[in-house]
């Protein structure tokens, strides 16, 4: 038990030191423009199909589940608003972050872990190239930049598929669905949840890079890093969501 407590605090201590070096790499030039573009592509465009599918599925499920509930209370006309509000305020951002935690978190954890155990990170360091700048900072920035864009895509697919699912049960035009759903929506409803995904991106980039770069113990260690990256990214995203939702409710009541 004591060892578990010690390793818990050790992990946070190491994370703190990692963040200090990462902050230096993020804010002090030169910047790794070409590698950043590669990571934006790898993290952004490669995650798009998965995120779009997850968003679409969420839209369909929301439509199917809420339809019956609303019908019981005689509020079926509220269906478009419920679907759109649910998607843009919570489902879209959190589903996107969890999907990216899985795909990108595992990818970064395994890739950097593999580079660590095969001494590629050491090779980079002795070549006078800062691995925090080249490997970690580029991935963190790419995650921060791509999460909101992927969320927009997930939201769009969710709304479209929510409409499609609704209209299959009871025909309704897409224009009416949107007008009805967006009637009470303001920027205060849309922007804060979208911007909170930058925090999710920060969490995914930092935790996955940290887990990858501290890998030890050969291929088994790489597997452990990939798994722990996904688990920790998902966990911290959910915990951060609780805090951020509370903050959003305070500042945008």
């Amino acid at each position: 038990m004591a060892a578990l407590v010690v390793s818990f605090f050790e992990w946070f201590g190491e994370l703190g030191m990692f963040c200090r070096r990462l902050a230096h790499a993020l804010f002090v030039p030169p910047y790794e423009g070409r590698e950043l573009v590669r990571q934006l592509d790898s993290i952004g465009s490669m995650s798009l199909p998965l995120v779009a599918m997850a968003g679409a599925a969420t839209g369909v499920v929301l439509s199917l589940q809420t339809r019956d509930s609303l019908a019981r209370f005689g509020a079926k006309s509220m269906l478009p608003a419920v679907i759109i509000f649910s998607i843009i305020k919570e489902s879209g951002p959190i589903i996107t972050a969890l999907v990216v935690s899985g795909r990108v978190g595992a990818g970064i954890g395994a890739e950097l872990g593999s580079m660590k155990v095969t001494e590629q990170i050491d090779a980079m360091e002795v070549s006078a190239v800062d691995p925090y700048k080249f490997l970690a900072a580029t991935r963190v920035i790419a995650c921060i930049a791509m999460l909101p864009l992927l969320t927009v895509a997930a939201n769009f697919c969710g709304v479209v598929m929510g409409w499609l699912s609704t209209t299959l049960a009871q025909p309704v035009s897409f224009r009416y669905f949107l007008e009805s759903g967006l009637k009470g929506v303001t920027f205060d409803d849309y922007l804060p949840p979208l911007l909170k995904t930058t925090v999710f991106g920060l969490i995914i980039g930092v935790v996955a890079s940290f887990q990858g770069m501290r890998t030890q113990g050969g291929t088994e260690g790489v597997g452990r890093s990939a798994t722990s990256s996904v688990v920790l990214c998902s966990l911290f995203v959910i915990l951060a969501d609780v805090l951020l939702v509370r903050l959003i409710l305070v500042f945008f009541p």
């Binding site: 593999s114 580079m115 095969t118 001494e119 590629q120 050491d122 090779a123 980079m124 360091e125 002795v126 070549s127 006078a128 190239v129 800062d130």
Partner: protein
């Protein structure tokens, strides 16, 4: 008698431990300019740790390591990187980057630290690869070539910035005797051509005989013998005699 102060690598009373395990236990070592020093010893005696300390990948517990006149343990950031640009390092596993091609691997340090155009970098990478006997298949990925070829590419990458010091971690380990001998000769040729100071960590005395001017034998974190191979053979230390007998 050479002046130690001018030597590229001067190590004084170096100690390093990991947890309760003492890996290096008072190492004193001077590597003179232009010589090739082979560090011999059994696996796990701290030879690779010594190389990582020389290049600043790890920090010593006590003692000092002066590399090209600078105390490497006290340097950080840009000042450490300035020294590292003058050091080439060939890792035991070659440590080539997975995703770039062979040619891009060699061009990587050039892209980072020179103002060469892409064409010039390509040309220089090809020249270096040709020098180590790699003239074709340069667009292949490291995973698509043999271990011996990976070592050659690693050597070309280590030579890319015209280093003053070369560090080799088990350059011939895991290779068949013919390839190991070829790599050994390659190290000798490149070292003599460029007059680079080299430290080669190895447990394979046959390969070391090809390229080394001087040998040190380590055991339990200490240097037991230092000199030419004949000097080591005359050592009365029991471990030295046993190591040389078993390695012969």
């Amino acid at each position: 008698m050479r002046n130690n102060e001018e030597s590229p690598i001067v190590i004084d009373d170096l100690h390093k431990s990991f947890g309760e395990q003492n890996v290096l236990n008072g190492i004193d070592l001077v590597v003179h300019g232009g010589e090739t020093l082979a560090v011999l010893g059994r696996s796990g005696t701290g030879k690779s740790v010594l190389l990582k300390l020389i290049v600043g990948l790890q920090k010593p517990d006590t003692g000092s390591i002066r590399v090209l006149g600078q105390d490497i343990a006290r340097l950080d950031g840009d000042r450490l990187n300035e020294i590292r640009k003058k050091i080439g390092f060939l890792f035991q596993s070659a440590a080539l980057y997975d995703s770039p091609t062979i040619e891009e691997n060699v061009a990587f340090p050039l892209a980072r630290h020179t103002r060469m155009s892409e064409g010039e970098r390509k040309s220089r990478a090809r020249e270096l690869l040709s020098a180590v006997g790699m003239e074709s298949g340069l667009e292949k990925l490291p995973s698509e070539i043999s271990g011996g070829m990976q070592k050659r590419v690693g050597l070309a990458r280590a030579l890319a910035l015209d280093p003053e010091i070369l560090l080799f971690d088990e350059p011939t380990a895991g290779l068949d005797p013919i390839t190991a001998s070829e790599i050994g000769k390659l190290i000798l040729v490149e070292q003599k051509k460029r007059n680079i100071t080299s430290v080669v960590v190895t447990h394979e005395i046959h390969s070391a005989k090809i390229f080394a001017d001087r040998f040190v034998l380590m055991n339990e974190g200490k240097i037991l013998a230092d000199g030419a191979l004949d000097d080591l053979r005359e050592s009365r230390n029991e471990f030295v005699a046993e190591f040389l007998r078993e390695a012969a």
